[in-house]
Symmetry: C2
Subunit: 411 residues, 2 copies
């Protein structure tokens, strides 16, 4: 498609394919928008923009799939991380900053009585299941079909190399199906340890779905009544809907909540918070990792959370997201295309009516990338506090051309 435009990306990918399975694996796989229709490697990034290895510039609506909530290379966050790293980073003990960060988080998130830290989001979702099982002495976990909680065998995000035993105690409902949830709670009464859900449904290759009215209230009520540990996976949405937790945005209280991605503006850190009842189980379960107490990412997190609050970043991101949503809807309409913009304004996604095979999304993404706007074809997008009105307007203007092209190809 754009072999010339992505020449160095393609050359590097060919080298990568020799020494790395798939060249680039997992969620960063570059076959996003069709072969050779996307940049593969980043050279430089700043604010809401980045440049690929061929020198092409993008307004970034993925933010590294979430982490860059204040924009790339935020000077205050980097300064805080640097200052700490120059003192001490990975040592035999944590730094004082771990205590500061834990105190900050328990103040920020009202339900949080305690915090633990890891590196991956999945470190926390995996840990949550074990804590729930220790606390309840029960086995089953309820989750939603197609929800993403990491790549551990129990999550069902992969198929190869997985054994039946890995998912032996996983029960599933369709997202938002409170009746189904209550039926499982009854059917497996006395054997359910926990329920794990994202605050709203953000599957790939599909529209995002907000919680149906009464869903969270009902789930909370059943969990409380049945002694089921309610685990929120706020890894993707956390710190973009409400700094006190996405549960505050939706008006419910989980027993455990898991964070990662945006928590330290790109520095590797994840966290779990929990209520007082679970503190002993959180202490009982042996859990650790080589870099889990590194001090620099924790300093980055203190800075990130402080700046998010100071700059009213959540409000700002959502306002910019609303502008983007309205603009895209108007542009699509002008080209006689029907789109759905789903999810919260700061974490939007679009699909095309008649585009169920996602080829319209792929063309939309490829043509946008070619014009310097990075929209993902099958994964929700992310706004950051670095996105300004001019960036949104430029993106909408590009969408004008892109929708025209989508209409031309797909009629």
């Amino acid at each position: 498609m754009s072999e010339e435009r992505y020449k160095k990306s393609i050359q590097l990918f060919k080298r990568a394919a020799k020494v790395i399975p798939q060249g680039i694996y997992g969620h960063l796989t570059p076959v996003l928008a069709g072969p050779m229709a996307s940049p593969y490697f980043t050279a430089k990034a700043k604010g809401c923009r980045y440049w690929d290895v061929d020198g092409n510039e993008y307004i970034d609506f993925m933010c590294a799939y979430g982490p860059m909530v204040l924009g790339h290379n935020h000077p205050e966050v980097d300064a805080a991380a640097d200052k700490q790293r120059k003192l001490a980073n990975t040592t035999n003990h944590p730094g004082e900053v771990m205590v500061e960060l834990a105190e900050l988080i328990t103040k920020l998130i009202p339900m949080a009585e305690w915090v633990v830290f890891g590196k991956n989001g999945a470190d926390m979702t995996n840990h949550a299941l074990v804590i729930a099982r220790d606390y309840t002495k029960k086995r089953k976990i309820i989750m939603a079909n197609g929800a993403y909680h990491g790549t551990a065998p129990w999550t069902g995000s992969g198929h190869n190399g997985i054994l039946p035993e890995d998912r032996a105690h996983i029960l599933t409902i369709d997202w938002g199906d409170l009746d189904g949830f209550n039926r499982l709670a009854e059917e497996y009464r006395g054997d359910i340890a926990g329920a794990i859900f994202t605050p709203y449904h953000h599957p790939t290759w599909a529209d995002q779905v907000m919680p149906p009215k009464g869903f969270w209230e009902g789930v909370r009520k059943t969990c409380t009544r049945e002694g089921i540990v309610l685990i929120l996976d706020d890894i993707r949405a956390g710190f973009r809907l409400n700094l006190a937790g996405s549960h505050e945005y939706f008006g419910f209280t989980p027993d455990i909540s898991c964070y990662c991605k945006a928590i330290a503006n790109g520095y590797p850190l994840s966290a779990m918070v929990g209520n007082e009842d679970l503190r002993i189980s959180a202490s009982n379960v042996f859990y650790t990792g080589s870099f889990w107490f590194s001090a620099a990412p924790m300093a980055a997190s203190v800075a990130t959370l402080t700046i998010l609050k100071r700059d009213k970043a959540v409000e700002k991101m959502n306002k910019m997201g609303e502008l983007l949503k309205t603009g895209l809807e108007e542009m699509a309409q002008a080209h006689d295309l029907e789109i759905s913009v789903t999810g919260p304004a700061a974490i939007p996604f679009i699909t095309f009516k008649g585009g169920e095979d996602f080829r319209m999304n792929q063309l939309f993404a490829a043509e946008s990338m070619k014009r310097g706007i990075f929209f993902h074809p099958h994964h929700n997008w992310f706004l950051s506090a670095a996105h300004q009105k001019e960036d949104i307007e430029k993106s909408i203007n590009v969408a004008d051309e892109v929708f025209k092209e989508v209409k031309r190809v797909f009629g």
Copy 2:
């Protein structure tokens, strides 16, 4: 014990205990050497030294439990990481540095035909099991009793919240028991996916054990004959025995090897390498994480591996380790104490004859810490390339006083 010496550590720990289960959890738990007999928090680190929050200085024989292979805050490593981070770190794509690093590792480690990267050591050991199961379409995994491969439920490193299904297909032998290994291979013939071992046995609360003569040769032979994937967990020993992999040090070839800790001198990175046969399975298994493609830790790793080679660091660390071993043995003998110094010279550990309850180890560690030497009482130690002859000599001189005290208390 030393309430005055560790005053600020203790104050901070009390704050931590309110907002973090156990205050400090996992392998960094500070109740190492008895209550209030160890520093709990680090303020500053440089080379082979660090300072706790009370300003006490230590020669560091733990190196953050392995990562600091070139010493804390190595200027060249930090400069490489900074240079990359100022360009781009966590973005929608990897950086060119990922390809450079993968190429470097496949050149450094002869059996490595491909590499994948993660954040935790356990990201890699967990992944290795799934790859082995995908490749063989079999279920069982053989491991050694008391071996540490992370904290996932299958590893057996924890007990609470674990279900029988989590370890349903784990078979164990005692470390080094080739006959036992062969018996399992026969008993479960046709159902064994993989075998995972560390290059030598480094349990906690025990002497380290080098592989018995013929163990690796025998295991390799059986794995090849039976189609069992031989997985090496080189996370703890990697890059301290042989830059081409600890299997080269012991003279065998695994099918997969896992690295972490020392790979990037304290920056969060882990890696798995594998042979050509496993490349397709490594591509089949969906595996990813939010920060797995961050470019700065990869730049740190390129620098670390390059410097390790340039400075003949492995040779140097082992030479310093030999000096330490000889010195400690002589000092112990002078005080009429019988000690065993076990493991490779760069990753040593001591135990006391008659000290099976580890109280002699705890006193030895506590008294050493009090005098500015950080030895761990129940976990193997780590040398770094930053340890100089004077540091070893100072540590041995301190051991003179400490052994005297151990003798006085335990007779």
